[in-house]
C-alpha cells in the first residue's frame, strides 16, 4: 500500500490540555449537519430520551405492554437476544484473521469489531431500561450474592468481559487516533490473547442466551423448544453476524465512500464472496441441526397448525431459501445474490429470535403480547444512537483505512 492512499500520519496528542483541546475539536460534527437522515434520527433519539426519563419516573407498566404473562418483551427479545446474535460477526472474523490466518479479511476487521462492541454497548445497555431495579445490576459482579446456578449470571459476566475484550481488540485504533505509539505497541501485543478469550466468551454467551430459555419448558411451543437451543443459538450467531457484516459493508461502502482505503475497494468483492462462504457453511450446519431436532422431537403432529405453518415459513423461507441464494451467489461469484441472501438471513434471524422469546412463548395465552409504540420508539432510538456512535468513530479513527505510519491491513 502506498503513502497516498492512507490517511496522513498524525502527531501525538501530548498532555492533558492538548488532549482536551483535541477531544473538543473531534466532538464537533463533520460534514453537513442537517441531512434528512440526521433530522429524522435526531428526532427519534430526542423523543427516546424523553420517553426513557418518563419510563424511570413511572415504571415499566406506563410505557410497555409487558404483563404478568409476558415478563420479557421487545427490549429483551429484540434489543438483547437478537442484537447480540448480530454481533457474532466480530468473533467469527477475529477467529478467521488471527487464528486461521485468513488475512484477506484484515481490512474489514476493525469495522466489524467496532460494530460488535457498539452492539453490546447499546443493545445490552438497553437491558438497563428493562430492569426493574437497575441499580442492583452490580450485585452479580461485586457483592455477596452470586447466583452461580443461574445461566443469566453466566451471561451477565460474559457480556461484561466480552465488552472489555472487544474494546481491547479495537484499542490500537484509538491509540493510533491519539498518536500514542508506545501504548499502541502494548495494546497490539494483547490482541491474540483478547481474540482467544473473546471467542471462548462468545461461544458461551451466544449459546447461553439460548440456554436461558431452557427453563421455559412448557411455555415455548414444542417446535421451538428443545434441549439444543444453546447449540442452535451459537451456530446461528455465526451466520447472523457474518450476514450483518455483509449488509453493513454494503451501506458503509456507499455512505463512507471517501474514507475507504482504495485497496479495500478492490479486494472487497473477494471478501464478500469469502463471507458468503462462511455464512453458508454455518447455515448448512444449522439447517441440518434444525432437521435433526425436528425429527428427534417427533414434531410432525404440530406441523398442520398455525404455529406449524409459521415454523415452516421460518425454516423454508428464511433458512433454506437464503442458504440456496448464498450457494448460488458464491458459485456464480455474484455479489448481488450474496447481498440479497444476507438481507433475507437477517430478517430470518430476527424472526427466529422473536419466535423463541415472544411469538412461540405462551403461544396459547388468551391475551398475547404486542409491543407498545413506546417500546418500539425507544428501540429505534437505541439503534439510531448506535449508528451515530459508529459514524462518529468511523469518521475520526483509522477503521476503514489505515494511517501511513501504522500498517494493519496486510
Amino acid at each position: 500500500m502506498s503513502e497516498n492512499i492512507s490517511i496522513p500520519a498524525q502527531a501525538e496528542v501530548k498532555g492533558l490540555g492538548e488532549f482536551i483541546r483535541f477531544m473538543i475539536s473531534e466532538l464537533k460534527p463533520r460534514g453537513k449537519v442537517f441531512t434528512p437522515f440526521n433530522i429524522i434520527s435526531g428526532a427519534i433519539i430526542l423523543l427516546g430520551i424523553v420517553l426513557i426519563i418518563y419510563r424511570f419516573a413511572k415504571g415499566l407498566g406506563a410505557v410497555t405492554n409487558l404483563s404478568q404473562d409476558y415478563p420479557w418483551g421487545l427490549w429483551i427479545g429484540f434489543d438483547v437476544v437478537t442484537g447480540v446474535a448480530f454481533a457474532g460477526g466480530a468473533y467469527t472474523l477475529t477467529c478467521m484473521v488471527y487464528i486461521f490466518g485468513a488475512k484477506k479479511y484484515s481490512p474489514i476487521i476493525r469495522a466489524t469489531v467496532l460494530s460488535g462492541f457498539l452492539a453490546y454497548a447499546f443493545y445490552a445497555g438497553a437491558l438497563l431500561l428493562d430492569l426493574g431495579r437497575p441499580w442492583n445490576i452490580i450485585n452479580p459482579i461485586i457483592g455477596n450474592a452470586f447466583g452461580l446456578s443461574s445461566v443469566l449470571f453466566l451471561v451477565a459476566w460474559h457480556f461484561m468481559l466480552y465488552m472489555i475484550t472487544e474494546l481491547v481488540e479495537f484499542s490500537p485504533a484509538i491509540a493510533e487516533w491519539l498518536g500514542w505509539k508506545r501504548l499502541r505497541k502494548f495494546l497490539m501485543g494483547l490482541t491474540l490473547g483478547a481474540v482467544i478469550f473473546g471467542i471462548t466468551l462468545s461461544i458461551l454467551h451466544q449459546s447461553g442466551l439460548g440456554a436461558l430459555y431452557l427453563l421455559a419448558k412448557g411455555k415455548i411451543h414444542p417446535l421451538w423448544y428443545s434441549e439444543f437451543i444453546p447449540l442452535l443459538f451459537f451456530v446461528s450467531s455465526i451466520f447472523a453476524g457474518v450476514s450483518l457484516v455483509i449488509f453493513e459493508g454494503t451501506i458503509s461502502h456507499r455512505v463512507f465512500k471517501d474514507l475507504i482505503n482504495p485497496n479495500l475497494h478492490a479486494s472487497y468483492e473477494k471478501i464478500v464472496a469469502g463471507l458468503g462462504k462462511i455464512a453458508l457453511g454455518a447455515m448448512f450446519v444449522y439447517l441440518f441441526l434444525k432437521i435433526l431436532v425436528f425429527i428427534h422431537g417427533k414434531n410432525w403432529e404440530y406441523i398442520s397448525s398455525p404455529m406449524g405453518y409459521w415454523y415452516l415459513v421460518e425454516i423454508l423461507g428464511f433458512v433454506l431459501l437464503p442458504l440456496i441464494i448464498y450457494i448460488a451467489g458464491v458459485k456464480g461469484g455474484s455479489i448481488g445474490l450474496i447481498r440479497a441472501a444476507s438481507i433475507i438471513t437477517i430478517v430470518g434471524i430476527i424472526i427466529n429470535r422473536l419466535n423463541i422469546s415472544i411469538i412461540a412463548y405462551k403461544w396459547d395465552a388468551p391475551i398475547r403480547y404486542f409491543p407498545s409504540w413506546i417500546e418500539i420508539e425507544i428501540t429505534l432510538a437505541v439503534i439510531c444512537a448506535e449508528i451515530w456512535a459508529f459514524r462518529w468513530v468511523i469518521k475520526r479513527m483509522p477503521v476503514l483505512n489505515e494511517r501511513s505510519d501504522y500498517k494493519w491491513m496486510h
Binding site: F56, A57, K58, G59, L60, G61, A62, T64, L66, S67, Q68, D69, P71, W72, C95, Y98, I99, F100, G101, D130, L131, G132, R133, P134, N136, I137, N139, P140, G143, A145, F146, G147, S149, S150, V151, L152, F153, L154, A156, L192, V195, I196, F197, I199, T200, I203, L204, S207, G208, A211, L212, Y213, L214, L215, A216, K217, G218, K219, E227, P230
Partner: protein, 261 residues
C-alpha cells in the same frame, strides 16, 4: 426438617378466609376488580394477592361438581426461580419456604420466565418495583406460628406440618377412602416435588392444575449447559492457541523456504 402444607380439596368450602388472612398478615392492599362471571375474585394471583381460591365447575363420572382450591407459590423442593436468579434474591430456606429479598433483586424477571407455575408477579405500575409472591409466612414460621392461611382455615382443608408426615397423612386418607380420592398427591413429584401437597376427589387436570410439568426438578434443565462451561473454557482457548501456533509456524516456514531459495 422441611415443612409443608397439605390441601385436601374435599374439605374446602370456598370461604376464602385464607385469602383475607394472607392479605392481612402481608398488609396487601385490596384490588379494584370487575365482575368476572364467577365467584372468584380477583382474576388471578397478583403483586397484591399472594393467594387466591379458584372455583371450578364441571362434570366428573357424569356428576356435576363444584370445587374450590387455593393457589399460591408451591414452594418447590428444587425451585426453578432460585436456580434462575442471578443475585440470590430468591432463596430456598432449609425449612421449606422460597423467599424473596428485594434488596438484592435487579428486576430482570427471569424468575417469572422460569417458574412452571407462573407464580412470581412483578409490580409493573411502580417506579421502584418488586417481585411479589407467597413466602409461606416464613416470618410466622420463625416465630413458631402457623402460616396465616392455615391458621384461619375453618374447614380443616389446610394442614401445616412436616412434609414427610403430611405425605403419610395424605396417603392414609387415600388408602382409607380409595373410592373417594384420586390416587395422586399433586406436589409429591411435580417439578421434583413441592412443599405444598394437594389431594382431591376430582382429577387434577379437570380442575385446571398444570399437568404438563413433569417430575424432573427444573434446575436440571440448565445443569448440563452449566457443566459444559468450564470444559469449554479450558478446551476452546487451548485449541485456538494450538491452531494459531501451527498456522503461524507454517507462515514462518514459508518465509524461510522463500529466503532459502
Amino acid at each position: 426438617m422441611a415443612k409443608g402444607m397439605l390441601v385436601d380439596l374435599t374439605k374446602c368450602m370456598g370461604c376464602r378466609g385464607c385469602q383475607v388472612a394472607c392479605k392481612q398478615w402481608n398488609q396487601l392492599p385490596a384490588e379494584k376488580t370487575t365482575w368476572q362471571g364467577t365467584y372468584e375474585n380477583p382474576p388471578d394471583i397478583s403483586p397484591n394477592t399472594y393467594t387466591k381460591v379458584r372455583f371450578v365447575e364441571g362434570n366428573h363420572k357424569e356428576q356435576f361438581f363444584w370445587r374450590f382450591y387455593k393457589t399460591q407459590c408451591k414452594h418447590c423442593l428444587e425451585p426453578a426461580c432460585v436456580s434462575a436468579c442471578l443475585v440470590k434474591a430468591m432463596e430456598k430456606k432449609p425449612g421449606g419456604p422460597v423467599t424473596y429479598n428485594e434488596h438484592r433483586c435487579m428486576g430482570c424477571r427471569y424468575c417469572m420466565i422460569a417458574c412452571p407455575f407462573n407464580t412470581p408477579k412483578f409490580e409493573y405500575d411502580k417506579a421502584i418495583p418488586r417481585i411479589r409472591k407467597c413466602q409461606f409466612c416464613f416470618d410466622r414460621q420463625e416465630m413458631g406460628r402457623l402460616p396465616a392461611c392455615a391458621q384461619t382455615c375453618p374447614a380443616g382443608t389446610l394442614k401445616f406440618g412436616e412434609r414427610d408426615e403430611l405425605l403419610d397423612i395424605a396417603k392414609g386418607r387415600i388408602y382409607k377412602e380409595p373410592n373417594k380420592y384420586v390416587h395422586h398427591i399433586y406436589g409429591e413429584h411435580e417439578a421434583g416435588g413441592t412443599s405444598w401437597l394437594y389431594i382431591s376427589d376430582i382429577p387434577f387436570e379437570k380442575l385446571g392444575f398444570p399437568t404438563n410439568i413433569g417430575t424432573a426438578p427444573y434446575p436440571g434443565l440448565t445443569k448440563d449447559f452449566l457443566y459444559a462451561v468450564p470444559i469449554i473454557f479450558i478446551a476452546v482457548p487451548s485449541l485456538l492457541l494450538a491452531i494459531s501456533y501451527i498456522k503461524n509456524r507454517r507462515n514462518e516456514d514459508k518465509v524461510e523456504s522463500k529466503e532459502g531459495k
